[in-house]
Amino acid sequence: MPGRSDGMIAHLVAGTKRLLGLHRPGRSLVILPDDVFLVSFPKSGNTWTRFLLANLVHPEQAATFANIHRLIPDPSVTTKREFDRIGRPRIIKSHECFDPRYPRVIYILRDPRDVVLSQYHYHRKLKRLADDSPLEKFVARFLAGETCPHGSWGENVTTWLTSRHNDPRFLLLRYEDMVADPRRELTRVAVFLNMTPDAQRISQAVERSAADQMRKLEKAQSDQSSLTKDSRKDLSFVRAAKSGGWSSELPDSLVEQLEAKWGHIMTFLGYELATSKALSIEPEMVSFMPDKPR
């Protein structure tokens, strides 16, 4: 039975890696009480925010695609051995739905109409989708939560908001607010991290993490990052770095589908709806979260 012995060998390799600390801890990561998690649904500006935070907290070295997984580690990429060498308090990247073990959370939100486009382009870059793969089909899978292992956009956002919104251990950031005024939003992050929000340090972090700068780094280091390794070189990871692309790129019928499913959450989060097809706001949802975010 070749299948069986292949499985056994893979098992042994995994076991040896584990023993030497070369495995990725994933969900088995031991969480420490002073950990801060940087959480978002995929393609919501997590990498940009990671650069901003790394450049804010570690001004002695500029964040790059080669060192980011050590500065702001990712349990599914950074090895256990590297994790053990990271200074505390750690800031850890995550795309997970609600996890009660996370002591403090910075959650990044982004308009799902832009998220779906960003993910569509990224999956083309990763060669998971052909160039002519219809957007309609992708949106249908996106709505069903089938495009990534972290739930649907609505599920991911809802699990965090219903459990932690208005909690002092939770900071909500909107990608759109960060694009509009990165200094102001990064100042909020600094306060949340109990840092003195030094204007010069914040400006430096914003400059070092600017889209142009990140594009340059991507060109030079694309093979050194798990985000871009083995992906198409003719498409870039750092794309428009703007908000609202959906209004020209996403057909009305697809906007309507997204708003019909998640309109109540989007309205609550301050994203204006373009169609009237959205479900009426669910009263329970509102009563559970009585205060609008800011």
Binding site: L19, F98, P149
Partner: protein
């Protein structure tokens, strides 16, 4: 290092308990609840409905409706499909179909209090108020989140989905047969009233008490716990009205009032009963 080697060896042979990290198949159904919300009773009800010829009891319940935290990975992987799997987990996007048992948190905390005395986690004279405060802060069952976190992460993500069935412990208590009819429909089991009534009878509190007396040593939840305290307790709803101090009721309703109202639990503290509804 030795501990790590033992754990590694167990993992290699599939003898570890996979917990949240087990493999999920597309035809799996999960029976989810916060701890002490009637999960064991519902497990017996469903086992008696789906596998009546296996005579479900405390010795085989884990093979019929497995618990990934108490069953070895090797056995979990080899169970016949479709599997019905017990879980106390907060929202997990991988679960394809979910039956969620909700229970009034004012009763859940009392049940947990008595269970923690039985398993010697606290002494008999541990103050209830203090226990409730820890419960509200999520310190009692922290791997599963607080009652509010566990319930809300499932309810608000899935309550409109055809892959989700919400059942309250209280409705199961007062209308077991029609509620089990809903569960049978959800599982796609053609069950007539007679078969359902049989499952309810086989899972009655009296019968489960009898089984517990004989088999407490065979089951992971009762093994090595105090034998002078039963696992199957009153099996009733509303005990909090007489047993829970008013200040504790207020503490629970302040934390989770909105979620409780959404599940149909009337609040006792009048100042909270209508707050936040606008």
């Amino acid at each position: 290092m030795i501990k790590r080697l033992i754990a590694g060896g167990k993992r290699l042979f599939g003898l570890h308990h996979p917990g949240r990290n087990h493999q999920v198949f597309p035809d799996d159904v999960f029976l989810v609840s916060y701890p002490k919300s009637g999960n064991t009773w519902t497990r017996f009800l469903i086992a008696n409905l789906v596998y009546p010829d296996r005579n479900p009891d405390f010795s085989n319940i884990n093979d019929l409706i497995p618990d990934p935290e108490a069953l070895q990975k090797r056995r979990l992987d080899r169970l016949p499909r479709p599997r019905i799997i017990k879980s106390h987990q907060y929202f997990d996007p991988r679960y394809p179909k979910v039956i969620y048992i909700a229970r009034d948190p004012r009763d859940v905390v009392l049940s947990e209090y008595h269970f923690d005395i039985k398993r010697r986690a606290i002494g008999e004279d541990y103050p209830v108020q203090q226990f409730v405060s820890r419960f509200v802060r999520g310190e009692v069952n922290h791997p599963y989140g607080t009652w509010g976190e566990n319930t809300a992460t499932w309810f608000y993500t899935r309550h409109n989905s055809p892959r989700f069935l919400l059942v309250t412990y209280e409705a199961l208590q007062s209308d077991a047969v029609p509620e089990m009819g809903r569960i049978a429909d959800f599982l796609g089991i053609a069950a007539d009233k007679q078969r359902i009534a049989f499952a309810v009878e086989q899972s009655s509190a009296d019968r489960m008490r009898e089984l517990e007396k004989k088999q407490a040593h065979l089951w992971s939840s009762t093994r090595e716990t105090r034998s002078d305290k039963p696992f199957v307790r009153k099996a009733k709803a509303g005990g909090w009205r007489t047993e829970l101090p008013e200040s504790s009721v207020a503490e629970i309703e302040t934390a989770w009032g909105a979620m409780m109202r959404n599940l149909g639990y009337e609040l006792a503290v009048s100042s909270l009963a209508h707050a936040g509804a606008e």
